[in-house]
Amino acid sequence: MKTTLFRTASLSAGMVLAALTVAPPAHALTAYVSNERDNTISVVDLDAMKTIKTVDVGQRPRGIAVTADGKDVLVCASDDDTVQIVDRKSLQVVGELPSGPDPETFALGEHGTRLFVSNENDQMVTVIDVPTRTVVTTIATGVEPEGMGVSPDGKTIVNTSETTNMAHFIDYATHKVVAAVLVDPRPRIAMFKHDGSEVWVSSEVGGTVSVIDPVRHVVKYKIHFEVQGLRSNVIQPVGIRFTQDDKTAFVALGPANRVAVVDAANGKVEKYLLVGQRVWQMAFTPEDKYLLTTNGLSNDISVIDVADLKVIKSIQVGRQPWGVAVASP
């Protein structure tokens, strides 16, 4: 315990020092990475491709997003049972959102004003109005809600359940679960296409992505992954991201250290890109120029050039990076 304390103390001291010595550039594209193990957020300058600051936040930061107005960064401090608000200018925690217990991840809906937080242990979803920082409502879900997806029109919430291997479709107006779709073991992430025509659900243990029709609530098809030379059990799909035009999807494959590039029209895997170890979550920079991946075991983020489909750089961040969010200058 002492060593941990000492380490934390010296680490924070180092971070303060680093923060003091490196001034952030005025108009840089910035990425914010939540470091689950360090209880910090790494601020990455994407012009210099460097971590320029480290901000102390609550315990076990995971889900992370930038608010619609671009002023704040929201981060789930899972072990502190809260969602913290970090001011982008001062890089200080300026407030909290009443997230309910153990928030792991969230989705921003309705133009970034509504936050849908999954509360794993209480089997519910907490909906928060971001501007007023108040709970709008709570919705009961399936067992152990994990991933959160909100349809572009904000009418449907999709919640994945780790234990029942189901994706629950919840009608936001009535708060009722309207459908439960069976997918492969341990569903992680639910992601709507920008046009709302499909929901993709990644199954970490099953090693697949299920493509679901959100109207008929059926699995249209499943995407399988195969990397030459790798055993199938290390291929564990987690994060999913669609390009703005919905033509290409990127799927993070966890300990396979690869991001799969998928033709989003037919689910055909076009390419595998080598990134850092245990790739987890991803985020695009504006206009889909770069895709950033968090690599949990190698403590870095990889930068993918989306046009070239090449990994151009890996940038050191804190320990066990979980999520990443990008803010325009």
């Binding site: 030379g229 396979a256 990134v275 990889s302």
Partner: protein
């Protein structure tokens, strides 16, 4: 050394023009080129050898999960990407040795006399021979890079250009080393031993197959040997230049080694004081 002897060696070199030097260089180059074209097996084996490593060794290697980031790489690379500069250097190493093998052959067959009776200064003949064998090695590397690129080894486009100066330097260094060794060998049969005792140790005790930090973890002794091996620096010079970067230490080591080996080869082939005379193997 008598004045007379001095005159007979030096006199003819005085009157040569640059054009005449170029004719001589062209002649040596042409012979090397002809040898390259006619000995198709040599070209094929020069190409197959690194490709076997690339296709079979690299494919079966367990670094399929990515090699940790070390300069000059900006991100994780597959093992086949890591091993490519080492294989390029291997092509040049074999070529340098084979080119000097041909010197032994020439000497045994008597062809070398044709070269050595040339009135041009010996150093010029040696350097011309080195340049021509380096040019051949670059052709072999180019062919290898074409196949490697098709195989999926990703190299920045301009890397194919920036690697050229490094290839020239490394080619010269290894060619000169081969030539120095060839002066010590009287018979073709002995050369096989040199291949065993020079090529393989040089190749394996280097950063060709594994990053040096990995070698260091498993054996500090081997690591030290790798560090003392000039071939390691040749590989690193090629590796950095493929990504448009310059590793100054590697450049310095390769330059110095190339100069030392070349001077050694020139001295070894010098008719008045060279090893050829001393060992009684020189031209009659």
């Amino acid at each position: 050394m008598s004045d007379l002897a001095f005159d007979t060696i030096e006199a003819p070199t005085r009157g040569f023009t640059v054009g005449q030097y170029l004719i001589c260089l062209r002649g040596i180059m042409w012979r090397e080129a002809l040898r390259f074209v006619h000995q198709r097996e040599r070209f094929v084996s020069a190409l197959v050898r690194p490709l076997v490593w690339l296709f079979i060794f690299a494919a079966g290697f367990r670094q399929i999960l990515g090699v940790s980031i070390i300069p000059p790489y900006e991100t994780y690379v597959l093992y086949e990407v890591y091993v490519t500069p080492g294989l390029i250097a291997m092509i040049q190493l074999f070529n340098g040795m084979q080119s000097s093998l041909s010197m032994v052959y020439d000497r045994e067959m008597g062809n070398m006399r044709m070269l050595l009776v040339s009135p041009f200064p010996r150093w010029f003949l040696i350097v011309s021979k080195l340049l021509s064998s380096t040019a051949v090695s670059i052709l072999q590397v180019a062919a290898f890079l074409v196949v490697a690129t098709i195989w999926g080894v990703d190299i920045p486009t301009w890397g194919y250009v920036t690697v050229l100066p490094a290839l020239v330097l490394v080619g010269l260094m290894l060619g000169a080393l081969g030539m120095l060794l060839s002066s010590l060998i009287k018979q073709l049969e002995n050369f096989a031993g040199v291949m065993n005792f020079v090529i393989f140790p040089m190749f394996f005790a280097s950063s060709a197959l594994y990053p040096l930090w990995l070698v260091q973890q498993s054996s500090p002794v081997v690591y030290t040997i790798c560090r003392l091996n000039p071939f390691t620096y040749g590989i690193e010079l090629i590796r950095f230049s493929l990504y448009g970067k310059l590793d100054l230490l590697s450049l310095a080591v390769v330059l110095i080694a190339a100069i030392i080996f070349t001077i050694g080869a020139i001295l070894a082939y010098d008719p008045s004081r060279g090893l050829l005379v001393r060992r009684g193997g020189g031209p009659a």
